[in-house]
Symmetry: C2
């Protein structure tokens, strides 16, 4: 099946927003093993929209349209699509009633524009929108089946998953099911992963894709089978084999971020954590507290940018700072132990380094970073040199620190990424 | 002038990366008052590329192409564009020599593929790429002038600004110059801004656009004049009038973030700051330390998620915590004063609140936040209720806190956003 994606809206063509809908939709199609051949964006402009609809009908099997379903004068998708193919525009009473009750329940006045959202091209299959007043619709014209969705991302994503994906699957008919998963790994480069998993990738009904999202590498097994159950079973088999092979390098699946995984593990174990950050400047704490409910396991932290703060708030010995400097093994250890003790938590983590672009010396170059983890009875520390820009340096450092917490809880060796230079 | 943007690459059509090039290019064109009518993405696939090139040549005055200029087999832009219009592909000796010396200077072997980057359609104007081995080119076919740029964002953006923009301007001929600026404001809603600036927006040769980027609102004056100098002078005039009208609501121009502005002001004054964060969980510190050189003015901070941390590390009286709770005026004041004293800095800022989605009560609902700023001799605090998701709640809270630092340094009133609910 050949797909294309069409997004509609002046704001896209003016560059006012980055169009993330396209990559989301393309990714979902790929999950069904459907390649997107064209992506087009046009303004809220009938001639351009008509041209785009007609071209899609002549060249693609599936066309996903996003935008132009709202209640304003600019929202023209249903009317213009009807015009493009000489179809009548019909009022759908059930949709109108849904919109009416939406406004009633909020004690708001419904306008004529809102009512226009209940008009669809004759023959359209209406796609409910549980999050807004703009329903979508689907209709076949020429060689293509159009799926028209709102442009609002959370409405669009939900409707893609709940309304569109099952219809595409069932249109394929009996005997073809495709399922995909994302395994998130940290610590091994893409070519090494490729090498390690060569035999698994080559074993039959599941194909294995790779994707990089700094500092992680994602694996994307995709299974084709006669039924959804068989495809899921094949994925289970391959994911188990990959996890067995890679061990703790796999930290999560699909949307699970490393900070969310670490948070869940801490919560499950009833354990607590605190952070002492110098070069990461609060990024580790920010990532931990991005997750709702983090107060159950996160006590807090100290951002110790200055030497004085390292001494006064974390108890780093002045002698260590003087003798070894702030970016050093003794100091990072004292920071991790100090924050663990002061916050009275199970695990303390610490970072100190030179994220750049300035501040390096011959013996301590830009990119040098020390990371430490202190737990009951033991402190582990290691240093790395990462030659990359400031933002990536901070992100990678935070990722190693969080990964060490995960590894500590799993009781496996604390290691840095295999591709990192010591 | 009617423009279109064409991006090329399998990775875009597979949804592996979000295509930010398109919004960048559209925004730059808008800076010259040129509207983009179409955006298209196609795979590294000659028939699809030929179709896209030929359509562009039939409908647009300017076509910006990004991608497909690298040294791999997938990089087909020059060859396929030549094929689309029946042009010869010619080797450019000067470019070949530049590529050769690039490899010589890095002691790396040059491959035949690299040499292919020196072949261009006959008649092309070559656009130097100071950051990589892939030069761009420009050529006119049909009604359109193509500008072909690499897909790598930092190379593409530099070449757009240095090579493409001046050529578009000079192609317009004498007597037409367009210039635009972005004024960044925080604290007033878009419709109020529109109202406040109505007379300025209506005054002649400068048009005023609005754009929202939560939690900020940007103003975008655009001037058309007979020369670049006149356009710049008109912009100066309008920007001065806007700044006079809005006062401290305008915090920066173009790419200046609020944290960068605050950092620069602190550095200029030789002043220092520390943060005590509860609900923002390190976000304010992260934003401050995103900026290189922040160690000159940022001493550090305490992330006091737990009550114990608020007492032990910031000296918040246990009685205040017990009587008023952690999310309260006395506590946020004590946090700001405590961090100021402990880090021995000029300004201490503090946040405590309920970012949600859970944790609210009747008297302290989800969304409640207290913010404080302590300086020599005075502490200022205020509370707000922001009904929005966790990520926005944290971002907005951090923005107010940073804006208060700026307002303190400007010696103007500390206020929250006018659209905020107390």
């Amino acid at each position: 099946m050949k797909a294309e994606i069409l997004t509609i809206g002046d704001e896209l063509l003016r560059g006012e927003i980055v169009d993330t809908n396209k990559s989301f939709l393309a990714d979902r199609l790929l999950g069904l093993d459907i390649e997107t051949h064209f992506q087009t964006s046009v303004r809220d402009d009938p001639p351009a929209m008509i041209d785009a609809f007609q071209r899609a009908a002549s060249r693609s099997d599936i066309t996903l349209v996003s935008g132009g379903l709202g209640p304003t004068r600019d929202d023209l998708t249903a009317a213009v699509l009807a015009e493009a193919f000489g179809l009548e525009l019909l009022l759908d009473e059930a949709t109108l009633e849904t919109i009416r009750s939406f406004f009633r329940s909020r004690s708001r006045e419904m306008t004529e524009n809102n009512a226009s959202q209940a008009r669809f091209p004759k023959g359209a299959d209406i796609l409910p929108n549980p999050l807004g007043t703009a329903p979508g619709f689907s209709i076949t014209q020429g060689s293509t089946r159009f799926f028209c969705l709102p442009g609002v991302p959370n409405e669009m994503t939900l409707m893609m998953d709940e309304q569109v994906m099952p219809r595409i699957e069932s249109a394929r008919g009996e005997g073809v099911a495709v399922r995909a998963r994302l395994l998130r790994t940290f610590g091994m480069g893409e070519s090494t992963l490729d090498d390690e998993l060569k035999d698994i990738a080559a074993s039959g009904d599941v194909s294995l894709g790779f994707r990089t999202s700094f500092p992680d590498n994602y694996l994307r097994p995709l299974a084709r089978a006669a039924s959804a159950e068989q495809a899921e079973a094949a994925l289970d088999r391959v994911c188990d084999a990959i996890r067995q092979r890679l061990g703790p390098l796999v930290y999560g699946e699909d949307q699970q971020t490393l900070d969310a995984v670490v948070g869940q593990m801490l919560a499950e174990r009833g354990m607590t954590i605190a952070v002492a950050e110098s070069c990461t400047g609060g990024l580790i704490a920010t990532r931990i507290t991005d997750n709702p409910g983090s107060s159950a396991y996160f006590a807090g932290g100290v951002i110790a940018y200055s030497d004085a703060a390292k001494s006064a708030l974390l108890g780093v010995p002045a002698a260590a700072l003087e003798e070894h400097g702030a970016v050093s093994d003794p100091v990072v250890r004292a920071m991790a132990e100090g924050v663990r003790e002061r916050f009275d938590v199970d695990i303390g983590i610490a970072t100190t380094g030179i994220s750049g672009p300035d501040g390096g010396t011959d013996s301590k170059p830009v990119g040098l970073v020390h990371i430490a983890l202190a737990r009951e009875g033991a402190t582990y520390a290691e240093s790395f040199v990462f030659r990359m820009d400031r933002a990536r340096h901070r992100l990678l450092t935070s990722q190693i620190a969080l990964d060490w917490v995960r590894r500590t809880l799993l009781d496996v060796e604390l290691v840095g990424p295999k591709w990192a230079q010591r």
